[in-house]
Symmetry: none
Subunit: 188 residues, 2 copies
DNA sequence: CGTACAATCCCAATAAGTAGGTATTTTCAG
DNA sequence: CTGAAAATACCTACTTATTGGGATTGTACG
C-alpha cells in the first residue's frame, strides 16, 4: 500500500531517481518529480505532502516557503555536500545525499508522521532478516516454515513483526526493501 | 548479484540508486554496487566493464587506477558540484549529477562501445507493463482496477497473462522483474 | 530479580491472490 | 477486409496472506 505522497523538486536526474528508489522501497508514493518550482497555484494544492527540494533552491524557496509549509506539508532540503547542513527557516530537515538509507528514512519518519512507522533495519533480528529474504524470494509462509523447520504460525508471527518494524505491508514493498538493502541476490 | 557490465562505486545511496535507474533505463546491466573500493583481486577480474566512481575517491583511485583501466574497462567519475570537471588521468569521462539524463547517456555511449543490451526483450504488452508496475508498487487488484478504471476481473486476467508470459508466479518475483527492468515508476 | 525482547507456537476471521475456465469488443498489421 | 492479438469482463473453487488477538520459553542487561 502506498502510504504517502511525495514530490521531488531537484534538477539532478540522478538524485531524482535515487531518491525515488529509496522512497519507493518504503512504499512512499511519489506524486511528482520536477526540475524547478511550479506555479503557486500548484504549490497551494499540496496537502500533507513530503516535499524534497534541492538546498541550492534556497532563493526560490524564500518566495514559496510559506506556501509549501502550509497545509501540513513537510519540506526536506537535499544537500549535496559533506558539510553538516542544519534545518533552518526554510527546511524542516536536511537530507544529505551521503546519508545512508537508514538515516535518510529515519529523518523522513521523524517528520512524516502520517507516512508510516519506520524503524531502521538494524532493528530487524537475524531471524527476521532470514524470513524477509525468503519472502523476497517469493516463498510462501508454508515453504518458509518447511525450510526453517518452523510452524507456519511462527513464520506469520515473524512476518507481522517485520511489517510492524518496517512499516511495509505489501509483499512487493518488502521485496524492494530486501533488494535495495542487499538482502537478496537478484538475477534477471 | 545483478547481471550486467557496470559497477557503481559510490558512498551515496541516493546516487547509487539514481545512477542505477538511469543505467537500467539504458539497458545497461549492473554487476555490483559498492560503497568503497574492493580488493585488487576483485578489480583485476573486471573486463570490458563500465565503472562509475565518485570523483572524491581520487586518492584511492590513484592506487587502483591502472588496474581499473586495464582489460578494456572505462572509468567514469561522478562529480557532485556544478563546477565543470574535466576528464583527467584517472577518469575517462566525468558525469556530473546535474547533467540531464540525455547528456549522461551520451557520455556513456561515447565510451561504452562494448556495452551490449543485457535485457531480454520482454513480450509484455503496454497494458501488461502498466499493470505490472502497479503490482510492483504493492497495489491490490482492486486498487489497480480503480486507478485504471477497469474491473478487478480484467486486472486478474492481465495478471494471469503476465505470469504466463514471464513464467514468474510470485508477487516478489514480479516486483524484482519490474525493478530490474526499470518499470517501477511513481504513481500519478 | 525483574524487564525487555527474541523466538517459538496457536487460533479465528477477513482480505487478497491463484487457477481453471468463457466470452465480447477493439486494434492493428497484412 | 480479415484474422490475430490485445483488452476487456465475468464465474467458481481454491490457496495464501493479513490481522488481531493469545501464549510460552530463553537470554541479555542493569
Amino acid at each position: 500500500m502506498l502510504s504517502g505522497n511525495a514530490v521531488i523538486i531537484h534538477i539532478s536526474p540522478i538524485i531524482q531517481q535515487g531518491l525515488k528508489n529509496i522512497l519507493l522501497a518504503r512504499n512512499i508514493g511519489i506524486s511528482d518529480i520536477m526540475n524547478a518550482f511550479p506555479e503557486c497555484s500548484v504549490l497551494s494544492e499540496w496537502k500533507n505532502m513530503l516535499l524534497f527540494v534541492d538546498t541550492q533552491y534556497a532563493e526560490e524557496f524564500k518566495k514559496h516557503g510559506k506556501i509549501m509549509k502550509k497545509n501540513g506539508n513537510t519540506v526536506f532540503g537535499i544537500g549535496t555536500t559533506m558539510s553538516a547542513n542544519q534545518p533552518d527557516l526554510y527546511f524542516d530537515e536536511i537530507l544529505n545525499i551521503y546519508d545512508n538509507a537508514d538515516i535518510i528514512l529515519q529523518k523522513i519518519n521523524d517528520y512524516g508522521t502520517g507516512v508510516s512507522d519506520y524503524k531502521s533495519n538494524n532493528q530487524l533480528s537475524a531471524r527476521e532478516i532470514e524470513i524477509l529474504t525468503k519472502i523476497a524470494l517469493g516463498l510462501s509462509n508454508k515453504l518458509i516454515a518447511d525450510q526453517l523447520f518452523l510452524s507456519i504460525h511462527t513464520v506469520i508471527t515473524h512476518r507481522k513483526n517485520i511489517t510492524a518494524k518496517l512499516g511495509i505491508k505489501s509483499i512487493s514493498g518488502l521485496t524492494l526493501y530486501a533488494a535495495l538493502n542487499n538482502m537478496v541476490d537478484s538475477h534477471s
